[in-house]
């Protein structure tokens, strides 16, 4: 990117969800790869910030509900079927994860399942999608929910034992991850910079070896344009579930 944009670009890994939002709000970061919920939280707290792109897979994102086979949970046909999870030991992923918590909790609520309905009156928060698979596969939690892409990649890598853990329901599609840029980039780096940044991202293609490597790490074929209205639904649900105030 540094080469394409002609400015020094520095990668700063921040692994805590709220820390990333704070870092963006305080303008310590100029461009961030956000999850759906954290992206909305950051944008609402940072005047002028813009959604510039997402992956091709992000406009049709899904979460999968999984269950341990010994729990006797079977495939669910409609959203109301989620009611069978009442009284089960259930785990989400991270507290701020869109696919591991927010959207699943929304569908659970829609089906009439409150988080206090799970065994022990509280759900678990495994901390990551991979951990959710491990904990459900072990049987410690009878069911859980995670990002569909992580489930698929674990299946491909042979890390899932299908006799122990199965998918019981896939959520409808929703918009998830996206690139969020500060609103003052044009002012700082010259007119049209944000557009140039956007085009650089959109121009990534698998024919160029370096870019292929990056796209593969993102599990994407390419980046596509996006805008904030794609995330109106997440904002509404975030407010409803009190993750956005």
């Amino acid at each position: 990117m540094s080469k394409e944009l002609n400015i020094p670009v520095r990668y700063i890994p921040v692994t805590s969800y709220p820390a990333t939002v704070n870092a963006f709000r305080t303008k310590s970061l100029d461009l961030v790869w956000f999850g759906g919920l954290t992206g909305v939280q950051a944008r609402l707290q940072t005047k002028g910030s813009k959604v510039i792109a997402q992956r091709d897979i992000d406009e049709r994102f899904h979460s999968v509900f999984i269950a341990n086979t010994s729990s006797n949970l079977t495939r669910i046909k409609s959203i109301e079927g989620l009611r069978v999870l009442k009284g089960k030991r259930f785990t989400f992923g991270s507290e701020s994860s869109t696919s591991g918590r927010l959207m699943p909790q929304y569908y659970l609520q829609k089906a009439g399942v409150k988080t206090t309905d799970f065994k022990g009156r509280v759900p678990g928060f495994s901390g990551s999608h991979d951990a959710t698979i491990a904990l459900v596969q072990s049987g410690s939690y009878q069911a859980g929910v995670l990002n569909e892409k992580v489930w698929e990649s674990n299946l491909r890598r042979g890390r899932i034992n299908p006799s122990k853990v199965i998918v019981i329901w896939k959520t409808p599609k929703y918009h998830d991850y996206h690139w969020l840029a500060q609103g003052n980039l044009d002012k700082r780096f010259g007119k049209g910079f944000t557009e140039k940044l956007k085009n650089t991202l959109l121009g990534f293609n698998k024919k160029v070896p370096n870019q292929r490597k990056i796209l593969n790490l993102f599990q994407a074929n390419r980046f596509i344009p996006s805008n904030s209205s794609n995330y109106n639904n997440i904002e509404r649900i975030g407010r409803q579930l009190k993750k956005i105030r």
């Binding site: 759900p123 951990a131 049987g139």
Partner: protein, 520 residues
């Protein structure tokens, strides 16, 4: 009528009662479903990744973490010592000023102490932006307050008679205080200060999440994707560093304390050494391309209104949150405090103690969220799993403190009791533990503080208590709720401290042991 006497030594064993319910609950819910993953975790210990990318990035991370730890350690111990002086009762007594000034300062210092360093990190970052300095501040603020509490208690344990005697010679208040305390306090400060470096290293690891990088980031990323072999590459490096530092400090401590009297020259050398380490760490961070002083500016958050606070308080299930937090704190404290004296008494041989010491290093090395995950793969979620995860991590710390105390004790009493023909277990109990029990219990009280804050990091087991609630409120940027939960933590810390102060004063003042009457 028989009487059971509660003295310091019996009190040391008292917390171990918590082990029984925790183990029963854990075993009752245990299963073998996680066997494969748990065995992968343990196999990875002897089979870490040697991929050069993994090693290179862990090596860089280790250097960043070490520098962060050294800087926070120097900040927190030096400021902590100063605050310890002014928050001790004996200091004010030397000036003939009411000791309540000291008590007041001590209670104020409960505020920074009540907040976990990870939470301090998030709060500071919300106001100051992302900067490597945040990690150092986030560790230094609570650590300064911890050091000052521990050392002020030690200042206060100085014999009052000495102070009065020196004062009657007509010496000035400040010199009275220094003369009365310096010889007793220097060894304590050196011992305790050395131990704080390892604590700083552990916290600097945990704080890798703030864009500073560091080995914590490597650990977290490999743990999140369950890449245990990569994770163990980082753990091995961190473990070796921990052991290395422990040995360097022990060497230094023995050299420094071996002299019969402490000279001003050796004190001056100590200060110069610390200053050199300080400059060296700053420069090293620069070499690693980390500039501590960039990008700091003040950013506001909207201050919540009274209505916001009221609304936020209605949304919280106070009774469940507070009882959950207390239960988790007591159970985990029982494990952490109760187990080391028992195992050391049962196996007091040289080899036995060595093996236990290795096990404790291992337990300290593994952060509580990771042990929680491993335990949770073996047993269904319950408060017992959370208590066990927190308990065994802190057990590693308590074990180390007990062993260190005992190592520095002279052997006269031990030899005398052994010569009387007592077996090795009772010799250890009467000659070693009895002598250490008072200071061990004091450390136990401080550990309760730590555990109360650490309840924040085991949300994985099912949101238990206030610690988890704080994470949830922080990730929702619900500042009114964040402030309310923090105030609750502070109040609980102050109440806990007041109770433990009263209790230790009661123990100190009671001429005869406290008796509980039991019917035969």
């Amino acid at each position: 009528m028989k009487k059971i006497y509660l003295n310091h030594t019996t009190l040391t064993f008292f917390p171990s009662l918590a082990i029984i319910p925790v183990f029963i609950a854990f075993l009752r819910e245990s299963h073998s479903g996680g066997f494969e993953i748990v065995s992968d975790f343990f196999i990875a210990i002897i089979y870490p990744s040697f991929n050069h990318v993994v090693i290179e990035s862990a090596w860089r991370g280790l250097q960043v973490t070490l520098c962060t730890a050294l800087l926070s350690w120097i900040f927190s111990t030096s400021i902590g010592i100063m605050l310890a002086v002014i928050s001790s009762n004996v200091f004010w007594k030397a000036f003939d000023i009411d000791e309540s000034v000291g008590v007041f300062i001590r209670r104020c210092l409960a505020i920074p102490r009540a907040i976990h360093e990870l939470v301090w990190g998030l709060l500071l970052q919300a106001f100051l932006g992302l900067s490597p300095l945040i990690a150092i501040l986030a560790i230094s603020i609570p650590y300064t307050a911890i050091v000052s509490r521990v050392l002020s208690d030690q200042f206060d344990s100085i014999s009052q008679d000495n102070l009065i005697a020196i004062k009657q010679t007509g010496s000035r208040p400040l010199s009275t205080f220094i003369t009365a305390s310096i010889n007793k306090m220097i060894p304590i400060i050196i011992n305790y200060g050395g131990y704080r470096l390892e604590c700083s290293l552990r916290s600097a690891t945990l704080l890798g999440v703030f864009g500073l990088g560091g080995i914590g980031t490597e650990l977290q990323l490999s743990f999140q994707s369950l890449e245990f072999r990569e994770m163990w590459t980082s753990f091995w490096m961190l473990g070796l560093l921990m052991l290395g530092l422990e040995n360097i400090i022990a060497l230094f401590r023995n050299k420094f304390l071996s002299k019969a009297t402490l000279s001003w020259k050796s004190l001056r050398n100590l200060i110069i050494t610390l200053f050199v380490i300080f400059i060296f760490s700053l420069t090293w961070l620069r070499v690693l391309d980390i500039n501590l002083f960039t990008d700091i500016s003040w950013h506001h958050i909207t201050i919540p209104s009274v209505i916001d606070f009221w609304q936020a308080s209605l949304e919280l299930e106070w009774i469940r949150l507070i009882t959950g937090t207390l239960l988790l704190t007591f159970l985990s404290a029982g494990i952490a405090i109760g187990i080391p004296p028992i195992t050391m008494m049962l196996v007091p041989t040289r080899l036995g103690i060595k093996l236990q010491s290795c096990l404790w290093t291992f337990l300290r090395l593994i952060p509580a969220p990771i042990s929680a995950m491993i335990l949770l793969l073996c047993s269904s979620p319950s408060i017992a799993v959370a208590a066990l995860a927190l308990g065994i991590h802190n057990l590693g710390v308590m074990g180390r403190l007990l062993k260190e105390g005992i190592d520095q004790q002279n052997n006269n009493l031990f030899n005398a009791i052994q010569a009387s023909g007592a077996n090795s277990n009772s010799t250890w109990l009467y000659a070693k533990l009895t002598v250490q029990s008072r200071s061990y219990l004091a450390y136990a009280a401080y550990r309760m503080d730590v555990l109360l804050r650490e309840t924040a990091v085991v949300g994985l087991v099912g949101g238990v208590g206030l610690g988890w609630q704080l994470q949830e409120s922080l990730s929702s940027f619900y500042w009114a709720q964040v402030i309310l939960v923090i105030i609750t933590f502070i109040s609980m810390t102050i109440i806990g401290e007041t109770i433990s102060d009263r209790f230790s004063r009661y123990l100190l003042n009671s001429k005869s042991p406290i008796g509980i009457a039991l019917k035969p």
